[in-house]
């Protein structure tokens, strides 16, 4: 009986002096993985035009029905995206989102993507309705 207890104490004792595996967040952060699925972003093309063409496929694919898209026509004077159509309003209710990535899969132009920003905590429930201004990648 004693041998077993001493053996066990040996193991726990060993770990007393090894470096702990805990990451001291927020001072230490881990490098995010390429495929990480957190906050959505609406991406742009190289030339600055928005990728999103307002097709609403992401809205149809979403299992939680948390995306809302209102489309509008591009004019030559005020062109937002290449092609005829862009998303005038784009809204995701982040509380209902389950971060499954089906919207990313459905998007034919790689406009909506899920990226590495996961620090989304907030105080008000209302502030979790992310409208287009919070999702759109800023111009470079």
């Amino acid at each position: 009986m004693l041998t077993e207890l001493l053996q066990a104490l040996g193991i726990t004792g060993k770990y007393l002096f090894t470096r702990s595996v805990t990451l001291r967040y927020p001072e230490e952060r881990r490098e995010p993985y390429l495929r990480t699925r957190w906050r959505h972003k609406l991406m742009r093309h190289e030339n600055g035009l928005e990728r999103c063409i307002g097709c609403s496929l992401c809205e149809a694919a979403c299992p939680a029905r948390c995306i809302r898209v209102v489309a509008e026509e591009n004019t030559e004077e005020a062109r937002v995206s290449p092609g005829e159509r862009y998303a005038k309003e784009y809204e995701i209710n982040m509380i209902r989102c389950i971060f499954c990535g089906l919207c990313q899969e459905a998007c034919p132009v790689e406009a909506i993507v899920l990226r590495e920003d996961f620090e989304l905590a907030d105080y008000e429930r209302d502030s979790f309705r992310f409208t287009k201004d919070r999702l759109l990648e800023p111009q470079k």
Binding site: I53, C55, E59, P108
Partner: protein
């Protein structure tokens, strides 16, 4: 009758039926683009190829009629190969527009490609390009790259609307659709091409990019714009009507819609819809609660009654209201206000009297379908193209089949081109004796035609002089009685507004409405308002000369959806519900009662009129037990004998005639 086998199932159909229709009859879908049951056969898209045993080549099911004992296969390997090939060909030049195309999600090309087409593309070249999009008209947008040249739009305009304003031009793969005349694509039925187009080539400009099919909720309703009562679908997103589609009820609308009905919906969600009751303060209004507004109205009436007597209180309703609203309107003014008058007007024209059944006994009550079967059609003082456009399509179709059209008393109208004889000019009285060398009256001129036709349809338009109707009826009755019993004479009135017939029925019930309405500034008739009227309640009606009228009134309350000019001079304004916001019924020109369904929410605190009348009655101490328009209809069916068979269950989704029949000829008795 011919018996044949399709996909191991036997069916028997009439001679001359095309295979595609025979298959549809037993629920077998044969994909098709250019074929449409209501248009002529084109046979050009080659999508409907099927295999007929014994024939070496595949045949198009839309051009091949059935023959006895043939065996048709729609899912054999050869057919599947041909379907894949046809779709591949169509997709070669089709632009990669699905994400931006309005048709996506409800597109036959997409659906057939998924069900019958290849999964991978084998084309790697450059597609043919057009400049796009092109505005064919302010309502229709054309994308030439998407067009698969099925020619349904061109055929529709040519054959059904008889406005051949678009055509195919150029040849080969460079062919495209363009407007065929300098005046433009102005046909009143242009919107139907949008529904006919099997791809996203023809799309609606007002609906452009507003919603995807999966964002829309579809509800049935009726078009509120004319007395046809065409059945529609309302597609709603977030409580706004996004578009209107045809909900085919062939006996009523033939499956089509006119542009007024199709594009006239945006007023419902307009920002200036009245949301709260208003009471007058100085030159303007302040919002108030319903209690205040109601008590103001009752106060105004009570004062009027004290000072001037019951006869000074009048209500003026409009044929835009539903039967239930009109019934309670009359009930209030007759039973509670104690006055026996509530009239309605048609934009200033005096209403046409109801046809007295006794005068026309033996004649057929008019149904739209009578036009389809008639030998001769007589239009008197009416213009269907303006007032009931869908009847215009029906008349054109009948004339194409060989019916003869005679026009009396109207100025040159669009249908004049289709008339078989020159029209009797305006102003000629119907029964006049022919003057020396001149043209005679209706009965003299056309009595021969009516006598010779087995089946005649007589339609009285809105400009018919009411005083002449009685003698016309007796003339027709005499013709019919001497006719020998074969055939029929169908007599009807073209009621211009959505519920003109219903208004007549509800406001006069079984009695004839004589011209008891407000006589005020009616052009040409009288410009002195009825001086007895001092307190007026106007519901959903605009009065052209309201300032003149207002000066004679002590109190004016207006119930409407916008702050119209009429409402602007009122003492109390009540916010109204529009057609898509109420349950109710409309009675169309053939006295078919059809249901409206509540689809969108009333803005703010707007209420349907039957609720308002109930509140008014309650404020005077009279309690009514109406909690829904269904309750009101129940009382209507008890109190108005003409509607005794009507209930919401009876009417269902297709409507039924007021006398309870759903089809078949009805007679005046």
């Amino acid at each position: 009758m011919v018996t044949l086998r399709i996909d191991d199932r036997e069916t028997t159909v009439a001679d001359g039926t095309m295979i595609i229709e025979a298959a549809r009859g037993i629920g077998i879908e044969i994909p098709h683009f250019c074929y449409h049951p209501k248009l002529s056969v084109s046979g050009s898209c080659k999508m409907c190829l099927v295999e007929v045993e014994g024939l070496a080549k595949l045949v198009t099911a839309c051009t091949t009629a059935v023959s006895r004992n043939i065996v048709v296969r729609t899912r054999s390997e050869k057919v599947k190969e041909a379907q894949r090939a046809t779709l591949s060909m169509l997709l070669i030049n089709h632009p990669l527009d699905c994400p931006v195309c309005d048709k996506g999600g409800e597109c036959p090309l997409q659906d057939y490609t998924y069900r019958y087409g290849p999964g991978k593309s084998e084309f790697s070249d450059e597609k043919w390009h057009f400049k796009k999009p092109v505005d064919l008209s302010p309502l229709i947008v054309l994308d030439r790259e998407r067009c698969i040249l099925c020619t349904r739009c061109v055929r529709f305009q040519e054959e059904v609307a008889v406005h051949p304003e678009i055509e195919v031009t150029e040849r080969g793969r460079g062919s495209f659709i363009e407007v065929a005349r300098p005046e433009g694509f102005t046909s009143n039925f242009s919107g139907n091409t949008i529904e006919l187009c099997p791809v996203g080539a023809l799309t609606s400009r007002p609906f452009r990019f507003k919603a995807r099919p999966w964002e829309l909720k579809r509800s049935p309703s009726l078009c509120p714009h004319c007395g046809c009562g065409c059945n529609i679908w309302l597609d709603v997103r977030e409580d706004k009507i996004m578009r209107v589609l045809a909900r085919e009820n062939p006996p009523v609308d033939g499956g089509w819609l006119c542009d007024r009905g199709r594009f006239g919906y945006r007023f419902v969600s307009h920002a200036s819809r009245l949301k709260t009751p208003l009471i007058r303060k100085g030159e303007g209004f302040i919002p108030c609660t319903w209690e205040e507004a109601i008590s103001r109205v009752i106060g105004g009436f009570k004062k009027g009654r004290e000072v001037y007597g019951s006869e000074s209180i009048r209500g003026l309703a409009s044929p835009k209201l539903t039967n239930e609203e009109l019934y309670l309107f009359r009930k209030f003014f007759q039973e509670v206000a104690g006055t026996n008058s509530s009239g309605y007007t048609l934009n200033g024209d005096l209403m046409i009297e109801s046809l007295r059944p006794a005068d026309c006994s033996g004649l057929r009550r008019f149904s739209f379908q009578d036009i389809d079967e008639a030998d001769s059609i007589f239009l008197i003082d009416g213009d269907p193209s303006k007032d009931l456009p869908i009847l215009d399509l029906r008349i054109k179709k009948a004339v194409k089949k060989g019916a003869r059209l005679f026009i009396a008393g109207s100025a040159e109208i669009e249908l004049s081109d289709f008339a078989s004889a020159s029209p009797i000019p305006v102003g000629t009285e119907l029964n006049s004796v022919p003057e020396k060398g001149g043209k005679g009256g209706f009965d003299r001129r056309f009595s021969g035609e009516i006598r010779d036709s087995k089946r005649s349809v007589i339609l009285l338009g809105r400009k018919t002089d009411p005083s002449e109707v009685e003698s016309l009826c007796s003339f027709l009755k005499e013709l019919h009685d001497n006719g020998g019993g074969e055939g029929w004479i169908s007599l009807g009135v073209l009621m211009p507004a959505a519920n003109t017939q219903g208004a007549q029925d509800m406001l006069s019930g079984d009695t004839i409405l004589n011209s008891q309405g407000i006589k005020y500034g009616v052009p040409g008739k009288s410009d002195v308002p009825d001086s007895r009227v001092k307190c007026l309640f106007i519901a959903r009606q605009e009065i052209p000369d309201i300032t003149n009228l207002r000066n004679h009134l002590d109190f004016l309350a207006v119930y409407d959806i916008f702050l119209s000019d009429t409402a602007r001079v009122a003492d109390v304004v009540l916010p109204a519900a529009a057609f898509s916001e109420i349950d109710g019924t409309y009675t169309n020109s053939e006295r078919r009662v059809q249901r409206l369904f509540k689809t969108t929410q009333t803005p703010g605190e707007a209420k349907p009129l039957w609720e308002v009348m109930t509140l008014l009655a309650k404020a005077t101490g009279t309690g009514w037990d109406f909690h829904s328009s269904r309750d009101v209809m129940r009382e209507i069916s008890e109190k108005i004998s003409l509607y005794r068979y009507i209930s919401y269950e009876e009417i269902g989704m297709k409507g039924s005639y007021a006398d309870g029949t759903t089809s078949g000829p009805r007679y005046y008795r």
